[in-house]
Symmetry: C2
Subunit: 336 residues, 2 copies
């Protein structure tokens, strides 16, 4: 295991201490629990938005807490859910009198704990809580039938749900509207990724799987979940073509649509390669008559030191576009 | 070689095409030469600032072109200098009537070409050009004698030179003042890095060196230049302690000083680890009675997919602090 760390047992605590030191002007924790991460900047009457999930994905999840996006994040240990109590503590802290929206990825541990936190908020504090799940990973399961819960995992596309919901809350929309907008973003985003190498959970000390030197895995999840196809490493254009085909067909995204595009590095893949992928995405979109409204390129949702990229598309309309354009200022993500 | 690329011969071109597509509202190129990268946002009477250098270090160098920082960047192929002609074309484009400052790293190829571009700007266009070199890598050579040119390499600390000079130019200071401030920043910044793994130049296809699974190299350069010590991988706290000792002793930084701190990931090292290092830096600074004025943590100057981190300190005073605080908006780096 090749990491710049101390005792793996202290990984989460020391990482969080570093974050609170570096960004003390913007964020703090609740009740001295480092895992209850909240913004210092409250606005009375604003809908509070919280997220949560395991560590190992920086800047996801906590990196999106700040002006124009989220108010709090329950931080779990690497690839583990935070507790319901932590979610509840954050909920109390970030409720600014207009209720709280939970946005998180579609993973069982997180669902169980956030559901319990919802009940605690309702019974103990009379705080109204709504929930929107990120379930954008096209590779993880087929589409859900109408009215049924998605079994797809949430991956990088949750960034767009945060972005739209956060802007809606900053515009002082009410809980019902912010929730509707978050759900609309979640319904209109699709993601697919490719992994070229594994990652190592610090406490475990070795990779739980491996990918051969000449191989890639299309659709691998951000914790190393099995994808849809393992095969020989192909060119950037071929990989992009395959992922875009699956994404475009899924919603589907069609001629005349406008999309916001997120090209996301999984950790070890240089920005250079992410832009080589961006170039090919743009060519494909042009060919299909789909307009790229805005590009985001960089590391937005990682899997420790995994190498690979993911592509997310969000179909935007006249309601979502100004929310995508709305300024953001968090320690990890800024948009002017 | 495990990369998401097409023909390695097209690596630079395709990466740049992706960048111009994603950020077409902010940047463009001169004379259809993709390697002549300039901001779209000109301000008459403002000192122009240009940089340049080899690719493979994103967001360095071109990522700092934008409002509040640089005006142009000559982009070389991976780890290679751009040409004097490209530097000259950019100089003509970004001269806004107040002269141009070149800020670049202390590498022979870059020096040769920028010197030639300076002569061309003077003789052919009568544009006044000044130069400040980044030579912040403590590990690469001893300190230079007074009046002598430094033989140290430029690494991540050049970010602070860009930051201060860019803010000074945005405040409409004249060329002499912007140059003096850039030199002051360069004189007060020191960097040291540690590498845990090698990187692969796409055209070459394999690493030019290797670091064993249980090893690290303190002081390795951003092209894989030999460092000061190769040894067994140590804990984050030990590594940070060793690097900080060398940095602090060099200027030296002493009790009562204030410093801006840059903790920089070299490519494959997760942000988590960079914050674990940040935590230890802060403890060391507190112990020494040195005040951390501001922290920057993330990937600011990489070496493709190399894993490792570097630490840069800039000693700040009442002149540099407001320049550090000045807002920036480039496609790759934003500060509010």
């Amino acid at each position: 295991m090749k990491k710049i760390i101390n005792n793996p047992e202290n990984y989460l605590k020391e990482m969080l201490e570093g974050i609170y030191i570096a960004h003390q002007d913007q964020v703090t924790c609740v009740n001295d629990d480092l895992q209850c991460y909240v913004t210092k900047n409250k606005t009375p009457g604003k809908v509070g938005i919280s997220t949560g999930g395991g560590s190992g994905h920086l800047p996801l999840f906590l990196g999106y807490v700040g002006d124009g996006m989220l108010d709090g994040c329950a931080v779990g240990d690497v690839f583990q859910s935070p507790s319901a109590e932590q979610m509840f503590e954050i909920t109390k802290d970030i409720d600014q009198g207009a209720g709280v929206l939970y946005i998180y990825g579609n993973y069982n541990g997180d669902i169980f704990n956030f559901d319990m936190a919802t009940e605690m908020a309702d019974f103990e504090e009379n705080i109204q809580v709504t929930t929107v799940l990120g379930a954008d990973d096209v590779a993880s399961a087929g589409p859900s039938a109408p009215g049924e819960k998605s079994t797809r995992r949430g991956v990088a596309g949750i960034f767009f749900v945060y972005k739209c919901a956060g802007a809606a809350a900053a515009k002082m929309y009410d809980l019902e509207t912010v929730t509707r907008i978050a759900q609309k973003a979640a319904d209109n985003v699709r993601t697919m990724g490719v992994a070229l190498s594994a990652c190592v959970v610090p406490r475990v000390g070795k990779a739980g799987f491996s990918i051969e030197e000449n191989e890639m895995e299309i659709g691998m999840g951000i914790h190393g979940e099995t994808g849809i196809r393992r095969g020989q490493l192909e060119s950037a254009d071929q990989i992009t073509e395959e992922m875009m085909q699956q994404i475009l067909a899924d919603l589907p995204y069609v001629e005349g649509d406008e999309v916001a595009v997120l090209v996301n590095g999984l950790g070890a893949t240089p920005l250079d390669e992410q832009y080589i992928v961006t170039r090919k995405i743009d060519a494909i979109l042009k060919e299909k008559g789909i307009k790229a409204y805005r590009y985001y390129v960089g590391e937005y949702a990682t899997a420790l030191e995994m190498s690979g990229v993911s592509i997310s598309l969000l179909k935007v309309d006249e309601e979502l576009k100004p929310l995508i354009d709305y300024p953001v200022n968090t320690p990890f993500f800024k948009q002017m």
